[in-house]
């Protein structure tokens, strides 16, 4: 069994009219440690749903998602919180920084949740802010910086506590091509230098080609799984 094992995952949503919609129809995937994977497909194909289930933000209707020893689908609410805190770094399309905290506080938030000392937090923030070129922004509130800068802060927050897996749901969707390019370079660097496993979703061909492995989903099923050169 690999680092991340997804077996026959089905996700059904019930609409308000009591109609069942199958977003994922039995997806199975094996992902190894330190992989850099893109999940692509048209809108509504199930990319975000799959990422949410892997990250424990939503539950699968059937099947299992096992990250090393943790069967995500069997964890209760409290265990899921701890699972997300300790093992997953999230990067969202809309950045989703905490508006009342400044950049530094946003980056160190998860480290503090995990009980790191202020000294460790300061050292890690300094290291990441240098790497991500956000040292000048540390005292600023998210509302006072650009979208590209916010996404770099979101990346810093996601990697700050050195999670096992980073999940990024369309991280470049709100960025222009220059910033998208920069972000992809950054994620690739993190994958190679920090040895972090990264799974991200996108439907932008320019972004997709940056990944080492490309999985295509259509209508809730994997239609293609290729290694990029």
């Amino acid at each position: 069994m690999g680092f991340l094992s997804i077996k026959n995952v089905v996700k059904t949503f019930n609409t308000s009219a009591d109609i069942e919609v199958k977003a994922l129809k039995g997806i199975s995937l094996e992902i190894e440690k330190e992989e850099f994977v893109v999940i692509s497909g048209p809108s509504g194909s199930g990319k975000s749903t799959l990422l949410n289930i892997i990250g424990g933000l939503d539950g699968a209707t059937e099947g299992s998602v096992i990250l090393e020893e943790d069967n995500v689908n069997l964890l209760n609410e409290k265990e899921l919180s701890i699972f997300r805190r300790d093992h997953i770094g999230f990067i969202f399309q809309a950045y989703n920084l905490i508006p009342v905290l400044n950049v530094k506080e946003n980056i160190e938030y998860i480290m503090k949740l995990q009980g790191f000392s202020q000294k460790d937090c300061d050292a890690r923030v300094a290291e990441l802010s240098r790497e991500l070129d956000i040292s000048e922004l540390l005292d600023k509130l998210p509302d006072h910086i650009s979208g590209g800068q916010q996404q770099r802060v979101a990346v810093a927050r996601a990697v700050a506590s050195k999670p096992k897996l980073i999940l990024a749901d369309e991280p470049t969707a709100n960025l222009d091509s220059v910033n998208s390019e920069k972000l992809m370079e950054l994620m690739r660097k993190l994958n190679e230098e920090e040895k972090v496993t990264i799974i991200f979703s996108s439907h932008d061909p320019a972004v997709i080609q940056k990944a080492k492995r490309s999985i295509v989903i259509r209508d809730g099923q994997v239609t293609k799984d290729t290694i990029n050169n």
Partner: protein, 406 residues
């Protein structure tokens, strides 16, 4: 350490929506101020009523001869009060006591006559106990030369249409049932509610007029702490007092006691009402505040914050706002109560209505520490109850649903 971040976020959230914070805190403080003023005035009114009645009239513990209360005949008097006075004097719980003569009679002027309760007192001692000097509307607090003066209640003065300096004829029956009359001059008119339809005259003069010798009608005792009056009365009842009967004020004025209970009930209802209004207000504000921050909470949960910590932060935020409201309300409420306890509210325009119920038209508030502690507890309970529902609605959502919230 993480708690520090939650506390910081709670404070930042409070200041992020300053106008809403001010609105909620104001709502809480206004509720609190009205509650404190209402409670202070209600309790002040009761204390005034009980004080006016007990201090100027019977005391908190009353000793009379057997059958006097039922018949009001002067032949049922305390012939030798010395032994019982010794007991009273030596009890450390007793603040003061006075002896009085009471008789029924008629007071007449040239044009009018009225039934009256004649009370004979040792003025100097009585003033110390009744604080009658605070209740003189006109005239001087004295029985005049050779005790030929009288102090009359304001209702009586109105009915007789007399003023200070006028002469009145008091007619009553002496110990031998002979009709006796004396002419006295009105020295003062009192607005003490307990004496509205009575007259006060010299005890020795009345004893002489009625042929009572040294006999008295009653001993009126004031306790250092009113709460001791029932125990003290019960202890006296257990002693061998021969032909004497002991009452505590709750037995004498059951209506006052009932009013006290009624006022307590009104107070509880007022507390409940303000509690409800404050709860609904806080609930509305917290609900809106939680709903508009659902996405933010979703993000926090998504990155690993436990729901319990988010709930703690919401409760903490609400408690800070409540505390701000409480402090402002307590300060303004205390100042208002201080003013009302010193100057009161003057309802003299409704004198008759107030006096009819034995109430002082000059209503003064009192301040009790319980006003502050009870309201603090009530506001904190209201706050916690008010945040429970919004927190519950948040708990039902999965992080992924909350994040999608716009």
């Amino acid at each position: 350490m993480f708690e520090n971040i939650l506390i910081k976020m709670a404070f930042k959230n409070i200041f992020r929506r300053l106008s809403r914070t001010i609105l909620t805190a104001t709502m809480i403080s206004v509720s609190l101020i009205s509650l404190m003023i209402m409670a202070g005035l209600y309790e002040g009114m009761i204390v005034q009523m009980v004080d006016a009645t007990t201090k100027s009239d019977s005391g908190e513990v009353l000793i009379q001869a057997k059958d006097f209360r039922e018949t009001e005949q002067i032949k049922y008097s305390i012939k030798d009060s010395k032994p019982i006075e010794e007991i009273i004097k030596n009890d450390p719980r007793v603040e003061s006591y006075v002896t009085k003569i009471r008789a029924q009679g008629l007071i007449a002027t040239a044009g009018y006559a009225k039934n009256v309760e004649i009370i004979g007192v040792d003025l100097e001692k009585d003033v110390k106990q009744s604080k009658l000097d605070n209740y003189i509307m006109s005239g001087e607090l004295t029985f005049g030369k050779h005790d030929r003066g009288v102090i009359i209640g304001q209702t009586l003065a109105k009915d007789l249409k007399i003023s200070v300096g006028k002469k009145v004829i008091i007619t009553t029956q002496d110990i031998n049932n002979e009709v006796v009359s004396i002419a006295l001059k009105v020295q003062a008119i009192t607005n003490s509610t307990g004496l509205a339809k009575s007259l006060l005259m010299s005890k020795t003069k009345l004893q002489k007029t009625l042929g009572l010798g040294n006999s008295i009608s009653q001993i009126c005792i004031i306790m250092k702490n009113r709460a001791d009056s029932t125990t003290f009365a019960n202890e006296l009842k257990l002693q061998d007092l021969k032909d004497l009967v002991v009452y505590d004020w709750t037995e004498l004025y059951s209506m006052l006691k009932e009013m006290e209970v009624m006022m307590t009930t009104i107070n509880i209802i007022s507390y409940a009402f303000v509690f409800l209004v404050a709860s609904l207000g806080i609930f509305g504000v917290v609900l809106v505040s939680v709903l508009e921050r659902i996405r933010e909470f979703g993000i926090m949960m998504a990155i690993g914050t436990r729901f319990r910590d988010i709930a703690k932060m919401i409760i903490f935020e609400s408690l800070i706002i409540s505390t701000i409201g409480y402090i402002a309300g307590a300060i303004i409420g205390a100042l208002a109560l201080l003013y009302l306890s010193a100057y009161g509210i003057d309802f003299s325009a409704f004198d008759d209505a107030f006096l009819m119920f034995g109430m002082d038209p000059h209503m003064k508030a009192i301040i009790r520490p319980a006003f502050f502690t009870d309201t603090l507890i009530a506001i904190y309970i209201a706050t916690i109850l008010a945040v429970l529902l919004p927190i519950r609605s948040l708990k039902k959502r999965k992080p992924v649903e909350s994040i999608k919230e716009l």
